[in-house]
Amino acid sequence: MDTSSPSAFVNGSLMRRYIGQKVRTVVQVIGSDVGSVVGKSTDDLQIFVKGSPPTTPTTYLEVIGIAESENSIRAEVKTNFGNNFDPLNYNELCKLANGEFKHFFI
């Protein structure tokens, strides 16, 4: 497993902590353009994803990339997460992963 560049689980509000660092998040695709995707984070904030969306986008998209600002990511890897995804659970994960159980995560 390549742990050279670990990415932290973030939601919309946690992204500001990792500006300039590698993060990963799951957004619900609201709109997509050539070269960018507008998504809603699991805590209902708007996230801009730079990078073209995958050819057949699904409702949810996981984005791994560098956080450029507190609401935009320059995507390196985009993965379709399907249409049935529970944003609440993911949100909880993000909160726990950055709070109580931070030591579990890289």
Binding site: D86, Y90, L93, L96, H103, F105
Partner: protein
């Protein structure tokens, strides 16, 4: 001392304004005393009661002294002229008069001059018996009455007295006419007397239990007595007799003995409260309303057969008691007792209550015998409520014990059609279930059995189907524990659909206002799916918590993987015969000739059914257990019906495909609903788990419960738990295997260490070791593990550090996805 009588008290008592000592405790003078002999038919002893007339200086009223006070009269403390203060008394209307029953009095003066000019009420006729009109033996009363002669309202009394008399309308009519406008006591009385006697003679059916209704007397003379049915409600017998020449001589004494029951009731106007009944008091009379009547039940015991029925009573003070009649007594009273009517009951045996059948709040119950008396009071006593409810909130039921009885009122939110259930003894029972919700924000499943399904059940069903949600009041529903708490009807239950009680109205209003949309948590767990109600456990908890060892099986849900499956006997040959809507499914024996025989159905069938009986090994991160899956769960796991699989293996002999299927099924994760129960095999007790349902994992909801568990853990850590030096029974073996099989990752987290967690609400650190889950060494717990302590962990760990030190290791549970 000057005795001041409470002027106007008698008028108030007569008018009904004052009915007992709560209104006032008047000081009255005894102006007459008469002893009455009461002899019981079946008993030799006759005993005395004293009838008195009490005056307030202006008017007089009749009364009875309590038997306890007899001695006071005998010794002269109470005599004519005595002034007494009524400290406990009751004024009950009897026919159209009011009799005062003095339970307790204070003697102000033993002897005093007669104050005022009271009208004499009682007759010097010592032969006459009861004054009070409680008994149908009105003949005697009537006769007695006449002697009164004077006294304004007496006449009314007499009149109605006679009316009540003889149980025959003839008398009534006769009297009325005789009275005309109500004067002429002299002639009237003589007339009536004869009427009375005649009518007595005429009423051959002196029914023991029948009584004439009362005419509530208001203003005496205003009554139109000539009109035939004026004010007469109860006379069932049509008034046919209009001519009358009275010719018979007065023979009061002859008729005194006429009606056996009446006799006994004769001079017992004093009713005691139901709460005062006890086995040591043999002579009592209670005035009660029947609140429920049971069905006629037959039973057979070793020494023969019998029948019985019971009914429940309620009196004016709210006392309740059950009455049971056996065998021949049933015949006597079964038709007499009608729910809602008021009766005077006496001469039953008071026995300790049989708690198994009797759920009323009374230590005793009454058993009626052939010499008991049940007399109907035609005058409806409004003091006795129709029903006494002790409504509880559904939320209280959760804390109540099973088998206790409760009254509920709520809205029926849903109802399901009646179903037939097969009982263990083979008999069928009809049942209907509904969900009842009330203002406590909880709902419970109420099950109706038997006849309730047909009557109330149907009505409720049609109401619900049409969209209105009716209010339902349940009296005496039994709480049982079956999937949470449930309420079911028993023999003495009663269901009221859309009742008219104030509580029902309150519930209706609440529903209209908010209840309709308010969320209701069900305390009866519904048997489907991984809902919020299920108890999530891990496999080791089955052993740790001794699940299944109590009387009832435990139903739990585990999220586990099938780690092994016994393929040798994955199915059995089953009986396909349908019993109602359920398949018999008993194992059938091969007859050898191609047919299969079922013992239960006692039939042979040509083609048997194949049903799964899979022995599975289930494993989660904590441990392993064996469980058996039957048909439904088996199909879910294997993905095909048992028959197909059977054929595949045995008929087609396609081993490869068979193995393929087995392999696919293994190591799949499901949410299993297990029924865990300890069973005895010879000497051995084994806890067996049956898979009731196997469901694919719904990651979303599963994760949610995990998140909740995590949160709970953090809050529990924050509120320091009781320091329990016992630490957990930490089975590292189990842990390792658990870690091996189930990939431990919570939504991407690839971490294998256990986190401190508490399950549901019972964390039971046990065992004697303090093992750190992180590094495995002894002496500290996970949270204190030095391998972690390099950086601040976040406030909660720091704060709990001290607390964890002494604490044993809590159950470790890790998200296992």
């Amino acid at each position: 001392m000057a005795a001041n009588l409470t002027a106007g008290a008698i008028a108030k008592m007569l008018s009904g304004e004052v009915t007992d000592e709560k209104a006032m405790t008047p000081i009255l003078q005894v102006t007459e005393i008469k002893m009455i002999q009461q002899a019981r038919r079946n008993q030799e002893v006759s005993f005395e009661r004293y009838k008195i007339a009490l005056s307030d200086g202006i008017q007089s009223q009749e009364g009875m002294l309590s038997a306890n006070s007899n001695v006071l009269v005998k010794q002269g403390s109470i005599q004519i002229g005595s002034v007494i203060k009524l400290t406990r008394f009751s004024c009950s209307p009897v026919r159209d008069r009011r009799i005062v029953i003095v339970n307790e009095q204070e003697i102000i003066a033993e002897k005093w001059n007669i104050i005022g000019n009271p009208i004499p009420l009682l007759t010097p006729n010592a032969q006459i018996n009861s004054v009070v009109t409680n008994s149908p033996q009105a003949q005697a009363q009537a006769v007695h009455r006449q002697a009164f002669g004077t006294g304004f309202h007496q006449q009314q009394d007499i009149r109605s007295e006679l009316n009540g008399v003889a149980n025959s309308s003839q008398a009534q009519v006769v009297q009325r006419q005789a009275f005309g406008a109500g004067a002429g006591a002299g002639s009237g009385t003589g007339f009536n007397q004869q009427q009375a006697t005649r009518s007595v003679a005429n009423s051959s059916q002196a029914q023991l239990v029948q009584r004439q209704p009362f005419v509530s007397a208001t203003s005496p003379s205003a009554r139109p007595y000539v009109s035939s049915n004026a004010g007469y409600e109860s006379s069932r017998q049509e008034q046919t007799y209009y001519t009358r020449p009275p010719v018979q001589p007065q023979q009061p004494s002859m008729y005194v003995n006429r009606s056996p029951v009446a006799r006994n009731q004769a001079a017992a106007p004093m009713t005691i409260p139901v709460a005062a009944l006890n086995p040591y008091q043999s002579r009592w009379t209670i005035k009660v309303r029947v609140t429920s009547k049971g069905e006629l039940k037959r039973y057979s015991k070793t020494n023969g057969e019998g029948k019985l029925f019971s009914f429940d009573l309620l009196d004016a003070d709210g006392g309740e008691i059950r009455v049971t009649c056996f065998n021949e007594v049933v015949d006597k009273f079964f038709d007499v007792v009608v729910v809602g009517n008021v009766y005077l009951i006496s001469k039953g045996s008071v026995k300790p209550a049989k708690r198994e059948y009797n759920h009323l709040p009374n230590d005793y119950e009454i058993q009626l015998e052939t010499w008991s008396a049940v007399e109907q009071c035609y005058e409806d006593d409004v003091a006795i409520p129709r029903n006494l409810f002790r409504f509880r909130y559904i939320s209280d039921i959760e804390n109540m014990e099973s088998n206790s009885v409760v009254d509920l009122v709520g809205i029926v939110s849903s109802i399901s059609p009646s179903g037939l259930i097969m009982r263990k003894n083979g008999s069928e029972a009809q049942k209907k279930a509904l969900q009842l919700k009330d203002m406590s924000g909880r709902s419970v499943e109420v099950t109706m059995w038997g006849n309730f399904c047909n009557v109330e059940g149907q009505r409720l069903q049609s109401l619900c189907d049409s969209g209105t949600f009716p209010v339902l009041a349940v009296k005496a529903g039994r709480i049982s524990e079956f999937n949470g708490k449930q309420v079911s009807t028993i023999g003495s239950s009663q269901l009221y659909v859309e009742p008219d009680f104030p509580e029902a109205r309150v519930v209706r209003e609440w529903y209209e206002r908010e209840g309709r949309n308010a969320p209701c948590i069900s305390i009866s767990r519904v048997f489907s799916g991984a809902g919020r109600q299920e108890i999530r456990k891990v496999i080791t908890q089955i052993k740790d918590e001794n699940l299944g060892t109590s009387e009832k099986p435990d139903w739990i849900t585990v999220s586990a993987t099938i780690s092994f499956m016994k393929v040798d006997n994955f199915c059995y040959t089953a009986c396909p015969i349908m019993n109602g809507d359920r398949q018999c499914s008993k194992k059938v024996i091969n007859n050898g000739d191609g047919t299969w025989r079922c013992e239960r159905c006692d039939q042979s069938v040509g083609e048997c059914d194949y049903r799964y009986i899979l022995q599975l090994q289930l494993q989660d991160h904590t441990g392993v257990t064996w469980a058996t899956a039957f048909q439904e769960a088996g199909e879910e796991i294997m993905g095909m019906p048992a028959k197909e699989l059977y054929y595949l293996k045995y008929e087609d002999q396609d081993e490869e495909k068979f193995e393929d299927i087995i392999r696919k099924a293994a190591f799949t994760k499901y949410i299993f609903k297990l029924k865990v129960k300890e069973e005895t095999y010879g000497d051995e007790n084994r806890v067996k788990a049956t898979v009731v349902k196997a469901e694919k994992v719904d990651y979303s909801s599963d994760t949610r419960s995990l998140v909740e568990a995590i949160h709970k853990l953090s809050t529990e850590d924050a509120n320091s738990l009781t320091v329990n030096p016992e630490s957990s029974n930490y089975r590292s073996g189990a842990l390792n295997s658990g870690v091996g099989t189930s990939s431990v990752n919570m939504q991407g987290r690839g971490f294998g260490l256990p986190a401190a967690n508490q399950f549901s609400s019972d964390s039971r650190p046990r065992g004697g070791m303090v093992l750190c889950g992180a590094c495995g060494s002894n002496g500290h717990v996970f949270a204190n593990c030095p391998s972690f302590m390099s950086e601040p962990q976040g406030e909660h760990y720091v704060s709990t550090q001290g607390r964890n030190a002494g604490r044993g290791m809590p159950r470790q549970h890790v998200g296992s996805y």
